[in-house]
Symmetry: C2
Subunit: 199 residues, 2 copies
């Protein structure tokens, strides 16, 4: 041991953060000790309080420390639209990028039978009860366009139809501002096949 125990412990603990290896942990520990002890102590308090108190919204399964998240609790949102996403980060990016004013349901994952993630783990029983209530008219399925995300979307669309809710899916195609030369083949083939008439 050529180093303080507490410092070693601090560096080790920082490695629980994603993308932080030994070298970054070391740099972070020294940075906090040398330049920002107050910020580090605030981070300690935020971690302590956040990780102990943040749970899931009873309606949409998003993270919140309340019984219901601010979106579900809001009376200004349109309850006839329900957007289903895989993760809270997906919900956040849709909220930031679009003018969507409906509600959300967060799966906290995707169907993946090999990993033991089935409909129950994604809270689809709760989603079904919600659809059965009859308020939702359209379910916007915004799972990722990956193999597992597509399988989940297919399953969700069937569920929606059972309750006479209209399922819809985000459009696929060439990203806006992208150059055709750098778009992957699958996307380009899809965009070509689903070309739209110009007005």
């Amino acid at each position: 041991m050529s180093q303080s125990d507490l410092l070693t412990q601090l560096m080790e603990s920082l490695r629980c953060l994603p993308g932080v290896g030994q070298k970054s942990a070391q740099r972070m520990a020294y940075h906090l000790l040398e330049r920002n002890r107050d910020g580090g102590l605030r981070l300690a308090a935020a971690l302590q309080e956040g990780l102990q108190r943040i749970g899931h919204c009873a309606l949409c399964r998003d993270f919140t420390e309340q019984e219901r998240c601010p979106i579900c609790a809001s009376s200004a949102r349109d309850g006839s639209l329900l957007c289903v996403v895989e993760t809270p980060a997906d919900r956040l990016v849709i909220e930031q990028a679009t003018g969507y004013r409906g509600l959300y349901f967060i799966l906290q994952g995707r169907l993946s039978p090999l990993d033991g993630i089935g409909p129950r783990e994604l809270g689809l029983d709760r989603l079904a009860r919600r659809l059965a209530e009859g308020e939702v008219r359209e379910m916007i399925i915004a799972t990722n366009p990956t193999v597992e995300g597509e399988a989940t979307a297919h399953y969700l669309a069937q569920l929606a139809r059972q309750f006479e809710v209209k399922p819809s899916r985000l459009a696929h195609g060439v990203p806006i501002g992208g150059e055709l030369e750098y778009v992957d083949r699958g996307t380009l083939a899809h965009a070509f096949g689903s070309r739209t008439d110009m007005p």
Copy 2:
């Protein structure tokens, strides 16, 4: 506000870490909430304890929660050798890479008059008292090979000579395993000029 207050606060606090922007902070917060709440709570405790209790070693200025760091407190180290480095990270890498068994002095910076960092801020008065005690025979100056690091090295060498201590500097040259084609010109010119006889 479309997001839990505690979650927003957690994401903001994570940005005190170096190299962590809004997107990484978001990813870290979700990762801890979804997969590693225990690790996050351990991190909170390590930050709290570390940032409050870790101070500086009375002899070498390295970080430690004791009066003296483990290296200064060790009776197995050679007190006649003193290696002067800019930061604790430099001390750590020398300790890991070399078989050095002497002691260290950590400047916690480099001479930089424009930023108001002079000899006093680097603890050079304390270093001078240490050299005056007469135990140190050789001072290995391992500041960075930058303009400021070289100026600091020059100043330190003068200080050493005042107390009849032999100053030495890390060798410069072509890195081992490097290819000449990719070595910068300054290093190559220096290595060429300081070529050594082959045995």
